[in-house]
């Protein structure tokens, strides 16, 4: 099976500071892959580098057989890659409906209504809140909106950056459940960056551990969950 997304020896810098030190990573079609790591390990940087902001200094990023390493961000995001960015970043003064429309703006599709119905099936709460301003939603609803907005472009690959950030455990379970349902029903490929290692590894088919900008461990979700060093570093006292 060829990879939908593969990173080879990717390095990235913020000014003079090296944030990624030669990352190799693969995501296959239909998989949920998670990337876990401590604060400042470079998880979000890796996610942003895939999106071309910042661009990788060396190494290559291949998506669907084409090299996207040097493409500008907006062109990468038009190749059926969608991202729900860290901190949700919804459009606060615009309504839920307008937020969702923004997600479909550049994909050039004509059946926006059908896609939106699918999003509403996944997150019925969004339908109830359709005319409300994004900024008035609760944290969990905002995360649903961020994911829903990303789904509006009918992506093949969904990038999720810390969807559990600042949410109650019950809401986190709800959102992770929705991601699993989506993956099973439509075969959507998901790359999930998480600090909530326990939940993320249970959800994912495979996982990578990022330490100081380099991958130190990889394996299936169950394998990683069973490793004593993972338990010690990321799971102590974090059982939900």
């Amino acid at each position: 099976m060829t990879a939908l997304l593969s990173l080879t020896g990717v390095t990235a810098f913020y000014g003079a500071i090296q944030a990624l030190r030669g990352v190799d990573l693969e995501v296959h079609e239909g998989e949920i892959v998670t990337l876990i790591g401590a604060n400042g390990a470079g998880k979000s940087t890796l996610m942003m580098t895939i999106c071309g902001n910042p661009q990788a200094r060396t190494g290559s990023i291949v998506y669907n057989g084409a090299d996207i390493t040097r493409l500008p961000t907006h062109l990468i995001m038009r190749q059926r890659i969608a991202q729900a960015p860290e901190g949700r970043r919804i459009f606060g003064r615009m309504t839920v409906y307008e937020n969702l429309l923004m997600g479909a703006e550049v994909s050039g599709q004509t059946d926006i209504g059908t896609v939106m119905e699918q999003v509403f099936t996944l997150f019925p709460r969004l339908k109830e809140r359709m005319t409300q301003r994004g900024g008035t939603l609760s944290g969990g609803e905002q995360q649903m909106l961020a994911i829903g907005r990303a789904l509006m472009s009918r992506p093949r690959l969904l990038l999720l950056d810390e969807p559990s950030l600042g949410l109650a455990p019950l809401v986190v379970r709800q959102i992770f459940g929705a991601i699993r349902d989506l993956n099973r029903a439509t075969g959507l490929t998901v790359l999930l960056v998480e600090q909530n290692a326990y939940q993320a590894l249970r959800l994912a088919h495979r996982g990578y551990v990022l330490v100081n900008g380099a991958i130190t461990m990889a394996g299936t979700g169950a394998e990683l969950l069973a490793r004593p060093e993972i338990r010690a570093a990321y799971l102590e006292g974090a059982h939900a």
């Binding site: 999106c51 907006h74 970043r89 615009m94 307008e98 703006e105 005319t131 301003r133």
Partner: protein
């Protein structure tokens, strides 16, 4: 007791401020400037501050439990009223010249020019969220485009109007490129500098623009080829309709031209807001990173906002040139940018009706205030007011500034702060049928 102390303190601050500013008036005397003290005016102002502050504090003590109530009521009233306000204002604007007063038509033309500038700047600042302190540059480019094209090539107003818009839009893109990476304060500084650069170029490029002397005898617009010349000869408006030539005909014609231009700006903005481009502007104002993540080309979106905003500034500039028949760099100073920006902020960023109201208040209201103060001064001819009456009209800006401060305290997000959704669904409509 604390309220009394607070009021005394406020009065002391007022005394310190108004003492030199109001209490000492300069007069031209035979041997240079004379200083004339004006203690009554200071006493009145300090007294107003003292009792005003005391009253405010006492009122607040009594209403401590519900401090939000009046503000909310005001907001609701304004929202309700705005539904009837738009058609009422439009009807008033169309009917104004039938009042027959040259003064009001002239004032209306001035107000509408600022309404149009406000709507143009609203695209850049209100919708796209790019703080532009140099909007007057595009006004100047539009005005000089027409004036120069008319002087050197003899072009008429109606040919130059679109050209002025295009040239201003081009300048908007020119400004847009270097500021693409800038945000907030830094963006504001560069746009401010851009406005000054254009003005300095107009002053110093004497061979083309006649520098500080300006350009005079700019031709007036025609109505389908009919000129508004006073000689009443062949091909003039008065000759065609068989009436006596009068200046008021041209004044009213100019009024309707700017009304049409302003409505065009409004219509275009409303249309754009419902289109993907307009929605992208608003999304950009909310969150640039999110826009990138959704595949929106931030560069093009920003440049288009600068270009389209500048284009309407250019139209307004061309109109200004033809109305005044004389322009010089003096007309395009920073204060113009500041006024237009104040109109947009006061109206409520992004609100079309708010901007129109704010322009009416800022330009029309200021003029009305001058009238009102002159009238008041004329009424106060008792000797007790001798010190104040004559000076009253000069307090215009002071009163106006105070009104602006009070307004921003009461409605910090502008007159009309709410934002209308650009896309809505009715309850019965299934989502699947709506395709954006």
């Amino acid at each position: 007791m604390t309220a009394l102390k607070d009021a005394f303190l406020s009065a002391a601050v007022a005394l310190g401020l108004f003492g030199p500013m109001v209490g000492l008036v300069t007069h031209n005397a035979a041997a240079g400037l004379d200083l004339v003290p004006n203690p009554i005016a200071v006493a009145v102002l300090v007294g107003m501050v003292f009792f005003g502050r005391l009253g405010m504090l006492l009122w607040r003590d009594r209403h401590q439990g519900r401090p939000q109530a009046p503000n909310k009521a005001l907001a609701e009233t304004l929202t309700k009223a705005s539904r009837y306000l738009t058609p009422a204002l439009l009807a008033l604007a169309i009917a104004l010249p039938f009042g027959g007063s040259r003064y009001y038509v002239d004032l209306g033309t001035l107000v509408l020019t600022y309404v149009m500038l406000g709507w143009g700047l609203n695209i850049v600042v209100g919708l796209a969220g790019l703080l532009d302190l140099g909007y007057v540059a595009f006004y100047a480019v539009g005005a000089y485009s027409y004036a120069l094209l008319a002087e050197y090539f003899g072009f008429g107003f109606w040919i130059c109007l679109p050209l002025a818009g295009i040239l201003a839009a081009f300048c908007g893109i020119l400004l847009g490129f270097p500021v693409l990476r800038l945000r907030g304060d830094y963006l504001a500084i560069v746009t401010l500098a851009f406005g000054e650069i254009i003005r300095v170029i107009l002053i110093n490029w004497v061979s083309l623009t006649h520098g500080p002397n300006g350009i005079s005898d700019i031709p007036r617009p025609t109505l389908f080829g009919l000129s508004f010349s006073m000689d009443g000869g062949e091909g003039t408006f008065s000759d065609f309709f068989g009436i006596e030539p009068e200046t008021i005909q041209r004044v009213i014609f100019l009024y309707y031209v700017i009304l049409a231009l302003a409505l065009l700006t409004n219509w275009a903005t409303i249309r754009l807001r419902r289109m993907p481009l307009g929605r992208a502007w608003e999304a950009l104002r909310e969150d640039e990173v999110a826009c990138r993540s959704l595949g929106i080309d931030v560069t093009n979106t920003k440049l288009s906002a600068f270009a389209i905003g500048a284009m309407f500034g250019g139209f307004a500039g061309a109109f200004f040139a033809t109305r005044q028949a004389f322009i010089s760099p003096e007309s395009f100073t920073f204060i113009e940018s500041a006024t237009v920006l104040a109109i947009v902020v006061l109206g409520g960023l992004g609100s079309q009706l708010g901007v129109a109201l704010a322009a009416l208040i800022m330009v029309g209201g200021l003029e009305m205030l001058r009238e009102l103060l002159s009238w008041l001064a004329a009424q106060m001819d008792s000797p007790f007011f001798a010190g104040i009456a004559g000076e009253l009209p000069t307090y215009r800006m002071l009163i106006f500034g105070l009104a602006l401060v009070v307004m921003m305290v009461l409605r910090p997000r502008g007159l009309i702060a709410g934002r209308d959704a650009t896309a809505t669904l009715t309850k019965q409509q299934p989502v699947a049928r709506e395709t954006g």
